[in-house]
Assembly symmetry: C2
């Protein structure tokens, strides 16, 4: 059945083969975070990979990234389907479809794969797993507070140290109110202001001041047109974004001075006050969740509170330079997504994080799973006729909860040892004809071998108390292997 | 941002929205089966959803089902990509790509979504989760035996009772040898024989006899051309397929009488003998894994041993009629898949099951998760001003490991109670102004309410010892809720 020409063996660009260590890290996040989310009364729910393209919207709904698309194809009946690019759009479709019969508010969480048809690059994949939690059907600011508290609890349960991250909270209505007071009504100009504020981290206040006004020329000489605010307007926006210092109450005080006056701004402030009260009764400390008016979040669909989970640790970039890790997740209130289908506004709020991004954050925080995934104990195959003996050894070890396998390739002794070493096996078991006849077994301590050859362990001291290889009674097999497992350096 | 016309809210045909119960069942299978597979020395490994279409093969490699296709689309660079239709083809691609650097044999397992572009129908989905385990790089029959032992151990760990399923094992080489002896060399004729044998369950020996010979007219009058074997040839095949009775050794005896003579048949027999020996040393009982020459497995790519995991229980079909559940998984040896890429034969063997099919089998065996997923304790919202009190109650319950939430919708008391009931909450907590002032809380026992209204529980007897509603000191909250959870009928 060989075809010619032979296909090349390679994965498509932007898709990843994933080995045991990464899968184990993600599975641990799934287990720990799910437990917390269920504690908060959120139920597991997932949709299929495909949605009809009209239900999904053909592209990410973000004017700032118009070229980021979806993977779409035409079904047999000519309808266009597309792979979901996030878990929010399918949730909105499901809610619109099932609204009458759902218990409301609908609180759900999901771990799911999403796809983005973007240009792949180093560290940029076109497929990844997201974890979302959303409350649909509650307009109360307390629903936002619950989502924030859940995000804090979930991230902490995943293993992130308490002082390694912070939830930063803002409300779109504040900036809207500020701009209304400044006489800005045009949606395009509002978006330009949002985009300028979003660059605070990178450009600092001086760069953003230019982008809020006439525009800014970058180092390459390229000119970006500004939002066209007046000098006073730009200063008001900058004062607003700088108001997030200290605890939540302090920031609220400072904000009320900057904002007050517009109806929308007052509404936004009142929501933040209610969020603060709820967070406090939920036991979310001041240093775990802060108000920060510089938080923007790119997506246009947010209508109220927005949140960003920021990692406070530094990590190293590809060149070994220290960089801020930045965001591990975010979310906010989006009250208009279901209305796309039904015409009726349904209030909703949620938090989302990228699972492999959180796994990287955990590693950066020194809380990830070890770099290694330990292999099974390997029983060396000297003579295929003795397979029954080998298999009864692995059966014994497995029954004792110890991963084990018989070497089943066709290579000689040396290659078998190398195989066991590459699998990071703790030990190799040897059963030659003499050992079988004498009811014995020889165990080679591969952990010790690796520790010695890596220089981690002082040769002489170890050798004295730990034999590299020992021949023992077959009946002592399990306890001898356990001793090696427990002594792991 | 409302668009017109509004899109219709519906999922694409053949894709499923999945609620908590089904997701919990699948997650439990993942957890339990993974533990067993890792015990066997298999490491977790997964690939991306897409493969290049040439690497995947554009369609399922089964001439019997030529219309079953894949979901394919063209990438930006004009290359065709397709969503994987199983986990074996991507494994073959990965192995071909990484052969030099992999520890060999490569033993991996994967839980992954696969997609088939088939006509959807009741119970027929175009997206599902498979779990595969494969050993690549071992030609030894013992590698097949390990896969069989692993399948038995994994299915049992998932919760299937030991007597509810059996692994049925055959070897393609036996039938090939038999046909060679009968003078059949043509591949097309061999396939026609395989297909005829595959219909034994449905047509019985008489129907299959016709399909092995000239052909068969079905009840509708449609004629299926037969494989064209001689009468003696057809009888030999039927005797062969009937040889699987009793324990493995008995079947081997019977087979050696039917088969003997051809080189390929002898090779197949020798492999089954080695598999039997290994299974016995691995402790796999005669009734857990049997030899059955009538097992065919549809896919053309199998080259040696084939296995089928058959559920022995009956279940009910859509009309309530008892039907045999049939296969929950299968696999076999496929030595040619990697050669598609490299030109070099790489021996491989594996077992695969559909995760939601196993979940159905578990339900059919009475071992599935309960029909219900219990909801959180719900704190009723009487007065939004008292939210801090409500939140401190849910905080306490969550800290005690009890899922809880404050009702955050905008409905009145009655609708809130209905919400709690629909979420299958064990209890509702009420904190009116008086209770707050008195340091008390009222608990309504919703489990009891449901038990009474369903008639499961005798009203009078229960009422006597279990209050439907009680007002207690706030400090007794957690223990009172625990009592309700523990008393669940």
């Amino acid at each position: 059945m060989t075809q010619s020409p032979r296909p090349e063996a390679r994965a498509p660009r932007g898709f990843m083969d994933r080995r045991a260590r990464d899968l184990a890290a993600e599975r641990e996040i799934l287990t720990k975070v799910s437990a917390v989310y269920e504690q908060f009364g959120f139920e597991a729910f997932d949709t299929g990979a495909f949605e009809y393209a009209d239900a999904l919207g053909k592209f990410l709904p973000d004017a700032d990234r118009p070229n980021e698309g979806v993977f779409a194809l035409q079904d047999d009946d000519e309808q266009w389907m597309a792979l979901r690019y996030d878990l929010t759009a399918p949730l909105a479709r499901f809610v619109a479809q099932s609204w009458e019969t759902l218990p409301k508010p609908f609180r759900r969480y999901a771990f799911g794969t999403v796809w983005r048809n973007e240009k792949p690059g180093p560290g940029r994949y076109r497929e990844f797993t997201q974890c979302d939690a959303d409350t649909v059907g509650s307009a109360r600011p307390e629903a936002d507070a619950e989502i924030i508290a859940l995000a804090v609890a979930g991230l902490e349960a995943s293993g992130l140290p308490r002082d390694a991250f912070v939830l930063k909270i803002n409300n779109r209505k504040l900036l809207n109110g500020l701009l209304a007071t400044a006489g800005v009504a045009d949606e395009g100009q509002k978006l330009a202001v949002l985009r300028a504020v979003d660059k605070l981290d990178r450009l600092g206040p001086d760069g953003v001041r230019l982008l809020l006004g006439e525009g800014r020329k970058d180092e390459s000489g390229a000119f970006t047109k500004g939002a066209g605010l007046s000098v006073a307007g730009a200063e008001a926006v900058l004062a607003f974004t700088a108001a997030g210092v200290g605890g939540r109450a302090q920031t609220l005080d400072r904000l009320s001075n900057v904002i007050g006056g517009s109806a929308e701004g007052d509404e936004g402030l009142a929501e933040l006050v209610a969020i603060d009260v709820a967070l406090t009764s939920l036991g979310v400390a001041q240093d775990q969740a802060q108000f920060d008016p510089s938080v923007v979040r790119g997506l246009e669909y947010y209508t109220g509170a927005v949140f960003e989970a920021e990692l406070l640790l530094q990590t190293l970039d590809e060149k070994g330079q220290p960089v801020r890790f930045g965001s591990v997740g975010g979310g906010g209130r989006y009250d208009d997504l279901v209305a796309r289908f039904t015409g009726e506004r349904v209030p909703a709020t949620g938090f989302s994080f990228g699972v492999s991004r959180l796994a990287s954050a955990l590693r950066a925080a020194g809380r990830g799973l070890g770099a290694e995934t330990r292999g099974p104990v390997v029983v060396i195959c000297f003579n295929p006729d003795d397979m029954p003996h080998y298999f009864s050894v692995v059966g014994e070890l497995r029954a004792a909860g110890i991963p084990a396998e018989v070497y089943l390739g066709s290579s000689g002794m040396k290659a078998q040892m190398k195989y066991a070493d590459r699998r990071l096996s703790p030990a190799a078991i040897m059963l030659g004809g003499d050992e079988i006849a004498a009811g014995q077994v020889t165990i080679k301590d591969l952990d010790l071998g690796r520790a010695l050859s890596s220089g981690v362990t002082d040769n002489a001291a170890w050798r004295a108390e730990r034999p590299g290889q020992q021949t023992i009674a077959r009946t002592d097999l399990v306890s001898a292997v356990r001793a090696i497992l427990e002594a792991r350096p």
